[in-house]
Amino acid sequence: MARRSAAVVPLGRDAPSRFLPWIFALMVYLAVLALTGVLILHAAVERWQRGEVDTLTVQIMPLENESEEARMAKLRSLLGDVEGVSGFRTVAQSETIYLIERWLGAGNVPSDLPLPRLVDVDIAPGYGLDAETLALRLQASLAGVTVDDAKLWLDRLADFGRSLELLAVAVVILIGLATVATVVFTTRMGISIHRNVIELLHLIGARDGYVAVQFQRQAMILGLRGGVLGIIFAVATLYGLRHVAGRLETPLAPDIPVAHWAWGLLAAVPVVTAVIAMVTARLTALRELAKMP
């Protein structure tokens, strides 16, 4: 006859507390989504601040003695060789005029103004190609080339992103607190259902520590189970959202793959849940016990 169970405590074994891991899972799910959101936003802001974007504008200044067409051809072949350039598009001269009119006023661009030729370059992520690097590469072979990294509006965007990030961090902290509170509340609720168990164990001569250990062990298992469930759902959702985000083709949204330590942070969430559930269970059980002589 095998020993059937070491668990003298019904936390998670009876109908009411079988809901606990699901509630934990939901909260972990939300916390992970929120945390990921902040990590993504943070990564985006960092990229914006570093001026890492996915389009740069290359300008070729008109030089005397050199054919513009030849220099454009040279530029195209150079760009084809640069690692990290995924494509480029020559901007029509009329569009260039429109861009300058923003500063000089419509119709105020003198026809003899030496206009640059503009080429929009698409940058593949992951190569760390920024305006400065690209400029250096191109200037080595071609004179009169500058690279504009849209610094001005990127700066404003980064500013905005930073404010947004601050708010988002506040929200993540609130969700984190809510998760902690929910885990604490539901664990306490779970245990208060089993007050009779605590009392009986106490009366038959169980030490406070023994009783607390029984509850905290069960709560830890529930917390871990809920946390892992939550993480699984969260990762599934993130993949879903990434798919949606990918289809939006916004030039500013960064890719979801975040730093490795960030994934580690996410993986820590169920552990944190388990620890909170465990500590709550222990304290709740001990508080119940303290009421008994």
Binding site: V8, R13, E199, L200, P293
Partner: protein, 225 residues
């Protein structure tokens, strides 16, 4: 073994349900605790099994003053006391076997011994077929027998049984009383709170009578066999 001196007891802020209770029980005694419903029998037992503190007076168990005892000492005292609760207090999620094994496991007994020991006792109280049944699937009397088995499994120094035969038929009641007397013979002090006059009549032992929270010592000792 058990000594009460001028003990009073109240629940919370309520009225006193025990007044000036004074008595002593020597090791090896076997006593009945009788009295009408609501007299305070269960309350008196609660004091003895250390579930409640007196509001006044002195209680000493196994020679230890319980008001002065520290928490870990109380644990030791409790392990020496087996209790049959009036409402059984079986854990609904544990089988009959696990319920009865609980005091052994809590005290850190070896698992191999636990199983055999418990199965044997359950068979003895007529529950051989119900060893793995959960309390909810047992009849009233079967639950009561599990509760009794749990109280005696550790061969406690002091056995407190609160109406242990209320749901048992005459024959089973006698059988379990013989179990208590057997334990008593090998050294357990026994106190049984009961309404069952047949039981008391057939198995005479000294009686403590409670009425309205007061011990009727005179009457009790007269009636004692």
């Amino acid at each position: 073994m058990v000594r009460f001196e001028n003990v009073g007891m109240r629940y919370g802020m309520g009225p006193e349900v025990l007044h000036d209770v004074t008595f002593a029980i020597e090791p090896g005694e076997f006593r009945y605790l009788v009295g009408p419903s609501g007299a305070g029998k269960t309350s008196l037992l609660r004091l003895m099994y250390l579930a409640h503190r007196p509001s006044r007076g002195l209680i000493s168990m196994f020679g230890t003053d319980v008001m002065m005892a520290r928490r870990h000492e109380l644990v030791g005292l409790r392990r020496g006391i087996g209790v049959v609760f009036q409402d059984y207090r079986l854990l609904a999620h544990l089988s009959a076997l696990d319920n009865v094994a609980l005091p052994l496991r809590v005290a850190g007994a070896k698992e191999e011994e636990v199983q055999d020991h418990v199965s044997e006792l359950l068979a003895w109280v007529g529950l051989a077929d119900h060893i793995h049944a959960l309390p909810d699937s047992l009849s009233g009397g079967q639950k009561q027998r599990v509760a009794i088995a749990r109280a005696v499994i550790t061969r406690p120094r002091l056995l407190l049984a609160d109406e242990p035969t209320g749901n048992l038929d005459e024959m089973l009641g006698q059988r379990l009383l013989r179990l208590f007397e057997e334990l008593n013979r090998i050294g357990t002090t026994v106190v049984i709170a009961t309404h069952n006059q047949n039981l008391v009549a057939r198995n005479p032992h000294p009686i403590m009578a409670l009425d309205s929270g007061e011990l009727q010592l005179g009457a009790a000792m007269e009636e004692a066999g």
